[in-house]
């Protein structure tokens, strides 16, 4: 039982990492809280579904096209709406939340309700780890997450664009003096965040079905993990996901499944009380020290 709980806790944590890394990356670079993040996740899922079922594209092609389209939506969102309100936090939140609502309710209006919307698993099999059966899709999620985090690390440390991302994230005004286009980088950050939401949808959705209401759940999970880890910190997201993921599964196994949501919320409250900027957060670090 203990081994099984640990295995599924790792998987749960990795799912949380995948769900929140895009949201956190966008905030870390451009300072924009993209409240349309969950909607972009659902947009990608339904787009993949339509390309697969209605257009008849092979799954990998459908997934890639869907990721690209979601990235374009993210970029357009920034260029046409967010650029005008950038820096006004409340306006950014209202604008992105409004866009998110519009996307989700549009799908509902189009009749995307019911349980028939799903994406197929990549490999239809399950494997035994120790004495515990784990399906191949969950193993793929873990592998995809490790690869994705690794690629992101290489990208931001060894490519000029990635270094520009970090430059803007560290000090936007100084980066401007070096000729970096802040709006262009912000566009790319929102776009990349959206693309990461699409990647998450493509690998996680095959575990279940696509439903409009999931958009809100994804946003809440991304917010919870990012707040605990510290908004803008990738390391924080990973640590927070592991904390919440393990806490949820152990609570589920040894206390009761209906307590799992309470554990996540309690973790947010405790972190906010002890360290308001989150585990690795930099936003108010100086104020906290003073």
């Amino acid at each position: 039982m203990l081994l099984g709980t640990i295995i599924y806790a790792v998987i749960n944590s990795v799912i949380l990492i995948l769900m929140s890394i895009g949201f956190n990356l966008t905030f870390g670079i451009s300072g924009i809280s993209n409240f349309a993040y969950g909607s972009l996740y659902i947009f990608a899922a339904f787009t993949t579904y339509m390309l697969l079922q209605l257009v008849g594209l092979p799954y990998p092609v459908a997934a890639l096209v869907s990721i690209a389209l979601t990235a374009v939506i993210g970029a357009l969102m920034y260029r046409f709406i967010l650029m005008r309100v950038r820096g006004q936090v409340l306006s950014e939140v209202i604008a992105t939340f409004g866009i998110g609502l519009a996307i989700l309710e549009f799908f509902r209006y189009l009749g995307f309700v019911g349980v028939e919307y799903a994406l197929p698993v990549f490999i239809d099999d399950s494997f035994m780890i120790g004495e515990v059966y784990v399906d191949a899709q969950r193993i793929i999620i873990v592998a995809a997450s490790v690869v994705l985090v690794g690629l992101l690390w290489v990208f931001v440390h060894y490519t000029s664009l990635g270094l520009a991302f970090r430059g803007i994230a560290q000090d936007e005004r100084t980066a401007l003096t070096f000729g970096m286009d802040s709006d262009w980088i912000a566009t790319l950050s929102v776009s990349l965040g959206a693309a990461l939401a699409a990647v998450a949808a493509t690998v996680i959705i095959p575990l279940g079905t696509i439903s409009v209401s999931q958009g809100y759940d994804v946003l809440i999970n991304a917010l919870a993990v990012s707040i605990i880890g510290g908004l803008g910190s990738t390391g924080g997201v990973i640590v927070a996901s592991l904390l919440v993921g393990f806490a949820q599964r152990f609570t589920d196994t040894y206390i009761g499944s209906h307590w799992t949501m309470i554990v996540s919320l309690a973790a947010i409250l405790i972190v906010l009380v002890i360290k308001p900027s989150g585990i690795y957060g930099k936003q108010k670090e100086l104020e906290e020290r003073i």
Binding site: G114, V115, A118, P206, T209, S211, D217, S257, H258
Partner: protein, 423 residues
């Protein structure tokens, strides 16, 4: 002279046209206030329109000496969506009543608390409701306590008590066939599912000598059931009883298959109801047993030919099969119950209509329909005697085979790999 004749003819023709228009402009309005953003509401509304089209195509409804058409007016009251307060649903119902002046309401709220609160509105405006989703028996209690006040509320679908009776029947059948008596209960953390699970423990498992090796409740939206499945395995559960109506609950069956848990999965998981579930869940649901609340709701039986014809007609109209295992059949029946009641009453006067609805005795897609003193359609185990639910098992070919009640069963229950009969 000829010119005068033309003028008179034109005058008469215009008069006739106007009178025909006036005649056509007075259809009988059926109001449909429900959550159309959910599959049961969406398909339910399509079925009301289908039944209305059938009736109108045959000339409409005879009200006294005249024939009148049905007309459908719907509103999305969104009560099934998380976080939508009951007053918002009530406002939707009242708006529909005041603006569209319906003679009767069909389907109605999803949530029992919304239905209970709506009962006074229905009394205020004297608009009968034939409800087909919300399942609380509390409405029947109110009808029985104050029949004159609440006589306008009927329910044609299964209620929570009948659901428990069907699940008890299924468990009893499993016990008789295989000698199983260890159950692990997993249910959604919502009122109706909790009440059903507790009802099963109190009214059946404890009395029939079963051991409940675990009971787990899941918040709506939960999508990982690995812990409970591991616990069920280690506790030696022979049967897992799931009670869920959230979209994510289909994942439970996929995980049960992937984790190769040697226990029979038998209960209610709403996403498993329709034929599309086989494809949706990657053909990973073979062996699962599911209770569709009414025969005709996404499953038919050749022993009730009306149910077969109903599903065929739906597929022909919509171009795809029905998926909701709760609501469609009683909704279809409700339109015909209404038609027959109007024709018997010869009037649209609410009290006369209600009195005639109460006298209903018809054989339709879910069996024989009669109402009890609480205005609840009577459910039983034989479609010749009462309305019936349908408990079926997914086989490994992706077919749904009815296994209970015995009066409509097509096959015996098959055990999943790794599980042997205890007999």
């Amino acid at each position: 002279m000829r010119r005068r004749l033309w003028a008179v003819g034109l005058f008469l023709a215009t008069g006739l046209m106007f009178s025909l228009c006036a005649y056509a402009a007075e259809p009988i309005v059926i109001g449909v206030p429900t959550s159309t953003g959910f599959v049961e509401g969406k398909e339910g509304l399509a079925i009301v329109e289908m039944a209305v089209a059938e009736i109108n195509a045959k000339g409409g409804v005879k009200v006294g000496a005249e024939k009148r058409m049905f007309k459908v007016e719907a509103i999305d009251i969104r009560d099934a969506a998380p976080g939508v307060p009951v007053p918002e649903a009530l406002m939707g119902i009242e708006k529909l009543i005041l603006e569209k002046k319906p003679t009767v309401l069909l389907i109605g709220p999803f949530r029992s608390e919304a239905l209970l609160a709506a009962m006074d509105i229905l009394t205020k405006y004297k608009v009968p409701l034939l409800g087909t989703i919300a399942m609380t028996p509390a409405t029947e209690g109110k009808v029985k306590q104050e029949p004159d006040k609440y006589k306008y509320v009927f329910r044609t679908c299964l209620n929570a008590i009948y659901l428990v009776k069907n699940l008890v029947g299924t468990m009893s059948h499993i016990n008789k066939e295989f000698g199983f008596n260890k159950v692990y209960i997993m249910h959604q953390d919502v009122a109706w599912a909790r009440a059903t699970a507790d009802g099963m423990v109190k009214n059946y498992f404890q009395k029939a000598g079963w051991t409940v090796v675990g009971q787990e409740s899941y918040p709506t939206g939960a999508a990982d059931f690995s812990s409970a499945l591991m616990k069920a395995r280690s506790a030696g559960a022979q049967v897992i009883l799931p009670i869920f109506d959230m979209p994510q609950s289909g994942t439970l069956v996929k995980q049960w298959k992937a984790m190769k848990v040697p226990a029979l999965m038998a209960g209610f998981i709403s996403p498993l109801a329709g034929p599309g579930a086989w494809k949706t869940f990657d053909k990973k649901i073979g062996g699962a047993i599911n209770c569709n609340f009414e025969l005709g709701s996404a499953i038919a039986s050749p022993k009730v030919p009306q149910s077969v014809a109903f599903l065929k007609a739906y597929q022909k109209k919509m171009g795809k099969p029905m998926e909701a295992g709760h609501g469609p059949a009683p909704t279809y029946e409700s339109v015909y119950i209404l038609k027959e009641a109007i024709e018997r009453a010869g009037s649209l006067e609410p009290d006369a209509l209600v009195a005639e609805i109460k006298k209903t005795d018809r054989s339709g897609v879910m069996g024989r329909i009669k109402f009890d003193e609480g205005n609840q359609a009577v459910f039983g185990m034989d479609p010749k005697e009462a309305a019936v639910a349908s408990v079926f098992q997914w086989n490994d070919k992706g077919e749904r085979v009815t296994v209970f009640p015995e009066s409509i069963a097509d096959a015996k229950i098959m055990l999943p790999a790794g599980l042997k009969s205890a007999k």
